[in-house]
Structure formats: structure tokens, C-alpha cells
Symmetry: C2
Subunit: 415 residues, 2 copies
């Protein structure tokens, strides 16, 4: 890199990418991919296709790591918002291939287009999923009449202890990958590309996935030490996706067809208290055995949960057990696709306890019929409430997938 020749070798690509990123309006597609400069992407097939009917990062088998961010738009210029979304889409198309968003080796007098920390790490199964918060449909961009009815603010729910500075947002970005630097690289570069148009409001790293979303994945444990997501919707269940996750013809806003609704809740776990609770209590709170993950009515993890089973006159799965109250059969048959991650953010300065828990993410067809009533019931009656607080809440309409280079999130909404 010390000689002018290698500099020049990158220059064309760099200016091309810079031009495309700056173009706005119609020409977002970064046609020319800049190959990683000093390492090829990981040799294992690690690319999740970015384009498709639905956004990746929903039905995609849950990757190991999460970087999530919410942004507030700081302009009321509708074209600037469109340009941002187009720029983000072009950048996401690059990053999900394991490529930089543009050259690191720019002209010496220009800042690098890509921040560079993920060079050489490959695609790492990266998915980038973008959503629109209810606040985006206020009077700034003329979108009020296009707000889907299902994008109704989540009402106050029993047990809420929400921190406004960690809640809401006009836009969200969910970056999932098997490498945390690859995921973080997305939100950092999105924040940079947003300069002058949007600012990051809050962000959250997730260090371990807690919900398998594929029958080929082992069920991971959350920080309560219990397997989480045993009865989650799996990506092999196409009918469940159609019935509970993907927005279909029932929507009042055609631009959302093929999309979904993302609910994010930061669920702080009082793990120090939990850890002093006796095993049988923990198992009764959840409704499952801790080690095996089997329901208390069964012997193996995937045994059908028998809510009606009674022993010595007492329900085997207690009336306030988490899995009973969350079960589809006690919620009008409704299911959610959970896709959460464990988090820890150090010590809670007020209490000296670990600030740790579950960053809950769920996708669904209509939060009014799925997350909200289920959580209303859980917040009122769940035995787990003694050990958890919901400390943040956010809701986003996740539009359908992008079809090809040049497409971007909300194109049919904003143009």
C-alpha cells in the first residue's frame, strides 16, 4: 500500500462507491462491489441473501450476535429521508456480502468510506433488518394516512418500568451476525451515513441468542439458565409464518404486504434474586425442568405441554407458570416469532447489581392481537414478574424485502 500504484488501484472503486452513496433519489445501487482489500470472506458459506420477498433477519436461523439501534430522524425533508434509506440499503447490500460499504483506501485527502474494522471478517451470516416506528408517521413526512392500523403505539402494560431514553425511535436497524464486530460495524456505519438526517437514539448489543428459529438449531439458554424458545416458530414452519409473522392481504396498507411488525423489549432480569431461588420454585415459575427443558408435564424438551394435567388435585404446570400464560392455547391460538438475545450492560449504579437480562425481539403479523394481549396477561399474572422488569419498549413496522439493487426500504411508501 506504500506505493502510488496500489492507491490508484482502489481509487476508481472508491469514487464509484462514494458517488453511488451520495447520489440519493433513484440511483442508490452500489453497482461495483469493492472486494475486501486484504482477506477474502470466510471460506464457509456465510452469506445470507439480502434481496428477497421478505427481509432477512426474521426467518433467517438466528445468528449468534446482535447489534440493534434506533434512530430519530432530525429533518422534515422527505427526500432526505428517502436518500438515507436508499443509502442504507446500498450499504447493507455490500456488508451482507462481506464487503465494505465503499473503499477504505480512498484518495489520501478524503476520509475512508468504510470505517474498516470488519475488513477480513467475511459476511458472518450478516442480516440487516430495517423498520419504521409509529413516530415516523407523524406530520413531518406526510405519511399519516399511510400508517398501518397495526402500528398502534404499544399501550402501557402491567409491570412496565420503561426508560424513555431507551425506548421508541423513528427507525430501527437490527444487525445480526455470527461475529459481533460485523454486527456493530453496521450500526456504526449506518449512524455515519445518517449524519445530518438522523441520529442514533439508543442501541443494544446482544451477546448470545436465546431463541432458536430453526429445527436445526439447539435451543439456547437465557440468563435464567432455562432453555428459551423450545416452542418458538421455526423457519421450517411455513404455515406459521404465513399465519402469525408475515403481513398478508388483511393489511390496510399494501406497502406492508410481506412485511412484519417488530416489538423490542429490554427485559432486565434480577438475576441475583433468581439465583437464590430454590430449584423447584424456578421450575414452577417457568413451567419446565431446568436442565432438560422438558415441560413439568413431560420428560423431554419437545414433549407437548399438557396444561390440563393435574396431580393430587393441583395443576402440574402451575396456574401462573410462564409457559402456561404464554402458550398459544391460552392466547386465542396466537403465536409470536421470538428472536431475542441475552445482554449485559455492566453494573446498575443505583443497586450494585448486574444490569443483565434478555433483549426480547418478536416478529408478528399484528401486535394488537399478539404481543400486546399476551404481555398484558403475562404482566398481570406471570410468576416470573418477581424476577424481571421491562425497561424499554419499541415497535417498528418492518416492510417487505428488497427485490434488487436500487430498491430500498419504504420505496413504495415514500415515492
Amino acid at each position: 500500500m506504500a506505493d502510488g500504484t496500489s492507491r490508484r488501484r482502489f481509487l476508481g472503486g472508491a469514487l464509484g462507491a462514494a458517488g453511488a452513496l451520495a447520489a440519493g433519489g433513484a440511483g442508490f445501487g452500489v453497482g461495483r462491489a469493492t472486494e475486501p482489500a486484504d482477506a477474502s470472506p470466510a471460506s464457509t458459506p456465510s452469506v445470507v441473501p439480502f434481496y428477497g420477498e421478505h427481509q432477512a433477519g426474521i426467518a433467517t436461523p438466528a445468528q449468534d450476535r446482535l447489534a440493534f439501534a434506533a434512530f430519530d430522524v432530525t429533518t422534515s425533508d422527505r427526500q432526505a429521508l428517502a436518500t438515507l434509506l436508499g443509502t442504507w440499503a446500498a450499504a447493507a447490500a455490500q456488508m451482507t456480502k462481506g464487503l465494505e460499504i465503499g473503499a477504505v483506501e480512498t484518495a489520501p485527502q478524503a476520509p475512508p468510506i468504510d470505517t474498516g474494522e470488519a475488513v477480513g471478517l467475511g459476511a458472518s451470516q450478516l442480516t440487516v433488518t430495517v423498520g419504521f416506528g409509529p413516530s415516523l408517521f407523524d406530520d413531518r413526512f406526510g405519511l399519516a394516512t399511510q400508517r398501518p392500523a397495526a402500528l398502534a403505539e404499544i399501550p402501557a402494560l402491567p409491570g412496565d418500568a420503561l426508560q424513555p431514553q431507551l425506548s421508541g425511535g423513528d427507525l430501527c436497524v437490527q444487525a445480526c451476525a455470527d461475529d459481533p464486530t460485523v454486527a456493530f460495524h453496521v450500526i456504526r456505519n449506518f449512524a455515519r451515513l445518517a449524519r445530518g438526517t438522523a441520529v442514533m437514539k439508543w442501541s443494544q448489543l446482544g451477546f448470545g441468542r436465546t431463541s432458536s428459529t430453526s429445527k436445526n438449531q439447539q435451543t439456547e439458554r437465557n440468563l435464567l439458565g432455562f432453555k428459551d424458545g423450545t416452542n418458538n416458530i421455526k423457519n421450517q414452519d411455513a404455515h406459521d409464518f404465513d399465519d402469525y409473522v408475515w403481513v398478508g392481504r388483511e393489511t390496510d396498507q399494501a406497502w406492508m404486504t410481506g412485511g412484519s411488525y417488530l416489538v423490542a423489549r429490554r427485559i432486565r432480569m434480577l438475576i441475583e434474586s433468581w439465583d437464590t431461588d430454590q430449584l423447584s420454585d424456578q421450575e414452577n415459575v417457568i413451567g419446565r425442568y431446568k436442565t432438560s427443558g422438558a415441560p413439568l408435564s413431560g420428560k423431554h424438551e419437545f414433549d407437548t405441554v399438557q396444561l390440563e394435567e393435574v396431580r393430587h388435585g393441583t395443576p402440574v404446570i402451575p396456574v401462573n407458570a410462564h409457559i402456561r400464560l404464554a402458550a398459544p392455547s391460552t392466547n386465542g391460538g396466537y403465536k409470536l416469532l421470538r428472536r431475542g438475545y441475552s445482554y449485559t450492560d455492566g453494573i446498575d449504579a443505583q443497586t450494585g447489581l448486574l444490569d443483565a437480562g434478555l433483549f426480547f425481539i418478536a416478529f408478528q403479523k399484528d401486535p394488537r392481537k399478539q404481543f400486546v394481549p399476551i404481555q398484558r396477561k403475562l404482566g398481570s399474572h406471570d410468576a416470573l414478574n418477581e424476577y424481571i422488569h421491562h425497561t424499554s419498549s419499541a415497535l417498528f413496522a418492518v416492510p417487505p424485502g428488497l427485490h434488487e439493487a436500487g430498491d430500498w426500504w419504504g420505496k413504495s411508501l415514500l415515492t
Copy 2:
């Protein structure tokens, strides 16, 4: 797990482990390993030996993830401190084998001994490294005369912007693993085992290693987008370890022979400013090319840094470049073993900027001759200072390795 038989199968082991963990004093060794209950450790060889001449986690090739915590001892009972260290050692011996610290399936009326979230994740190259802060050698435990001269508080240094609540501590635990849940599991369970004896003061997660410590590892990039650790000490350099890392016969305190000194500094990077800086400035600040990692005096990453090279009357590696000021040849030949990780802790509420950077960890024979003078020079002159703040600082004496079950950190110091 639903039937009494399988419960009983675990009971003996659980009580045995509980007894050993509670024994204190001499009998720390958890003789009976409780095998993972529902999954065998990962099939790849993932166990780093816990016992040895030196503590693991120093010369060990840097793993991918970090969980670090500092604790303050809340008792002045020397025996309670010894019991804690012995209990931690017994637990670490288990966890580094990929096993729980004790049974998850206890008697129903007892809390689980292990918190359970890492069950099934294997050893994941886990290392657990423990150190003693200067404050441990105050008058509480009668250790003042055994304080090594090298464990001198790090003085105020140019450029410090330290947060006391994230600095110092009586004890530290560095847990490194290729899986972040495995690393977090250590500090959570150590905090639990410390109840009544010590409380966690601060903790830090690291999501991506930034310093390779083996010639078999690729050099990773820090959040500046530059390769970090090219000229780090590598574990193939036994002479460098003897000369710069391991405490030898020169020590004034024999109990530290074979140990090392750990300096931790949370280095906040002002990445938004950095990202607007032009490429040539970034490269001059560091003294290396961004993409290749080659020194500005060379063409390839591992080319020798030629500090004397001049072009058109100007040093090719600027006089205030980071690699010049940090180079051993400008620091009396002294080197450090760096073993840091990238971190991000969300948004800085005061500025709205990302709170992200490098959690710097270095091991050395004598911080008075290594970290302190090098950082004094860097803090005064380093061109990088425009883009970084040191927001926390901590120093710990890391005793030598444990020899066998029943041994514990500081046994020769406290008994």
C-alpha cells in the same frame, strides 16, 4: 428429569460439590466433576489447561470474547478472603473444563449451585485469570508488608479522564472464551460465590479481540479500523515472556514469581470524529497504512518499522505517530503484552455519541518500567490523543499459576 430417579442421580454430586464449595480453608478442590447434564462439551478440543506454572489467559492465544470484572472485598476477615479465593479456584477449575461449578439439578428445595446458562456450550477455550489490586494490601488483611513494589498505584497520567466508579478494585477476574455466554457465566457465578465477602465494583464486556498474541492468529482490527497488535509479543516468543511479562527472581515478593501485572484501561474512542478524518491523516496518526497494516516505511504488515526513514526531509513515520511513541526502541527497549478487546456500551447520554473503543489490557513484569512511562509519553505527545480518552484505570498483581486441585490464588500469600 420429571421422575425421582433422575433427580436422585444428581443429588450425590450436587451435595458433594456444594460441600466442597462451602468448605473453605483447605478443602477447596471440587474433586467430583459434574458432567454437563444434557450435552457434552464441544467436540473440538476446546479446553485450555487451568493448572500450570503461569495463569492461563496471558500467554494463551487471545480468545474472541472477554468478560472482565473488578470486585471490592467487603469483609476484613482474612479467612473469609482465603475461602473466597479457594472457592473461586475450585469453580474456575470446573468451568475451564466446560463443566458447571456444581449441580444445576439440586434437591428441589435448594437453589441450583450453577446458574445454568452455559450448560451445553462446552469449554470454549475459557481461561479465568485472577489478580489483586493495590487496595488489597491496605491494613484490612495484614498484607501491607507483602505488597510488591511493582504494585504501585498508577500515577495520574497526561490525558486521563478517569471515572472512579469504573476504576480500581481489590480483586479482578478476566474471563476470556470463544463464546461470550461462557465468559459472562464466570463473572456472574463469581459474584454469586462472593456474596457476603466481596461485591462487584465494575465490569466490562469485550466483543472482539484486538491483539493477536500468537503467530498463528490473524491480526484483528480495532474500532479505528486499523490492525492492532502487529508487533505485540507472541506466545512463540518465550524470551520476550521471560524478559517482559513474567515476574522473575528480581521481585521483592517471592509469592509473585511466575506471575505478572495486569493494567486495564478503558480507552474511549471518539469514533465519529475519527471517521471524518482523511485517510492520510489517519495513517499518519497511527504510522501505518490502514488497509494493509504495513508501517508507512514499508509495504507489508510485518515489515520492520523504520523509524529513521526520512523522505524530502520529513520522517516517513511522523514524530508524533502512535507506533513511533509506543515502539520499544523509543521506550528503553521495553515491551508490553497487549490483550485488549473492542467494547461498546451504547450511547453516551451527554453527547449522543457512541460510547465505544478499546478495553486495553496489558501484562508486564513491572508497570513502573513498562506501562507507566510508555503511557506518560503517549499521553503527552501521541497524535492519537485527539481521538481517545482513557476513562478508567486499574492495576492488579496476577499471581502465578495454580499447581493442582486444592491450590488457589494467593495461597502462599494468605496462609
